[in-house]
């Protein structure tokens, strides 16, 4: 799946926990410096945010009309 914001997308909207967390961490490991990835979820992943901050990643979250949170994460 690709997205206008980035080609690196984890669509975790129908995954059970901890699937979204694990899939995001795995994709982050594959990104090159300066690349971004997008996580799609129906909730805000606060525990993931904390880990992202601890590991020095930036992220921006946008809530879409259908209830999807688009979380754009920098490598």
């Amino acid at each position: 799946m690709t997205h206008p914001k980035t080609p690196h997308v984890v669509d975790a909207r129908y995954m059970e926990p901890p699937g979204p967390f694990v899939a995001t961490m795995e994709m982050l490991d594959t990104l090159k410096e300066g690349e971004k990835m997008l996580l799609l979820l129906f909730r805000e992943p606060h525990p993931l945010y904390k880990v992202l901050r601890q590991n020095g990643h930036d992220y921006e979250t946008e809530l879409m009309p259908d209830g999807t949170f688009e979380i754009l994460i920098s490598r």
Binding site: F42, E44, H46, D66, F69
Partner: protein
Amino acid sequence: MQALLSFENAPPFAAPLRFFLTAPLFAVLAGLLLAWSGPQLMASRWMPGALAATHLVTVGFMLQVMLGALIQILPVVAGANLRRPLLVARIVHVGLSVGTLMLAAGFLAGTPWLLSTAALLLGSTLLYFLAVCAQALLGVPSTSPTIRGLKLALVGLAAVVGLGIVMALALAYGWPVPLSALADLHAGWGLGGWAGVLLVAMAYVVVPMFQLTPGYPARPSWWFPVAMLTLLLLWSAAVLANLAWLIRVSQALAAIAGIAFCVLTLRLQAKRRRARADATYRYWQLGLSASVLALLMLLVSSAWPAASEQNGWTIGFGILIVAGGFLPFITGMLYKISAFLSWLHLQNFGQAKIPAPAMNKILSDNDTHRQMLAYVAALALLLGAVILPDWLARPAGLAFAAANGWLFWNLANAVRRYRLAQADMAEKLAAL
């Protein structure tokens, strides 16, 4: 390794568990009280037994689970960390449990000092809980409808507790207050402003997450908590100004908002991607259907007030919304959260070297499904007892006590299996 990092935010399992294990026992007490008192308990909502049973269920069961769950999930759904969660849990659990028992005893015995002491104990416990939550949420921006809902639900909790204290003291010392209008408002803030808004805010997260449904659309999700609080403020102003028509309009609009949420959730569930229907899903279906019926009753009585003077109307509404609506929502989530937390704590305990047992090894679908059938039978008897109290009140009380005793048994068994699994994993880790 990375996955373990998310565990840092989780409070110790003992923090929410004490609430989850105690709550069903209060519902057992409520059932036994009905079995012991018999049909006279259902004669009016003002009967001492009815007041005691109502609060054993709403404070002893509902509030108990909700506060325990909040201590657990505030970091997860709002990024808000409670300081020393185990200490907070111990203080709140003792205050709430002792306060509920004293309140029920105060209603039954009609003893002023018991009622006023219970009100002050519950009031101070909940004030402490609100202060702890406010401290944790201070500076947390409302970046999602869930966080906004959580904050507004806590405002609802403050309102229902404030009204409850005033009413308990008024009952104890015979203060001249309009008890009937205040009781309706107290129930409105409790069920709509606190429990309803909290449930909705949690549903935004847990329904898509555990039942694999589409998400709740953003716009109505942002507005529902605000609309509910605004309508309750309107209702409160109408009580102060003694405007009966405005009370009815705000009740009708609150009922419509509640029905809209239930219908939306039923539609989302119809699109779920999880093929198997587990107890949580079935409990939610029951809760949503019963809530729609109860809220239709509220809509009818606000348009046609004489309806609420029909025999058994108010008691029937109360049973339908509390035992038919909220208890199934809460029990359904309780099963899912208990199994998930057991798995999460075991997963962490295994240090990524020993895998945790699957969730259904901790709490099996068979056990939860059979308990749910017992609960449905108890609910049917309770509703039947509204029409035939002489025949069905005592059997309904016994059935309600048995179904909730079974819930306790299932949860206690899950904890036993959790401890066994932990001991087994400790042995395997030591052998590595």
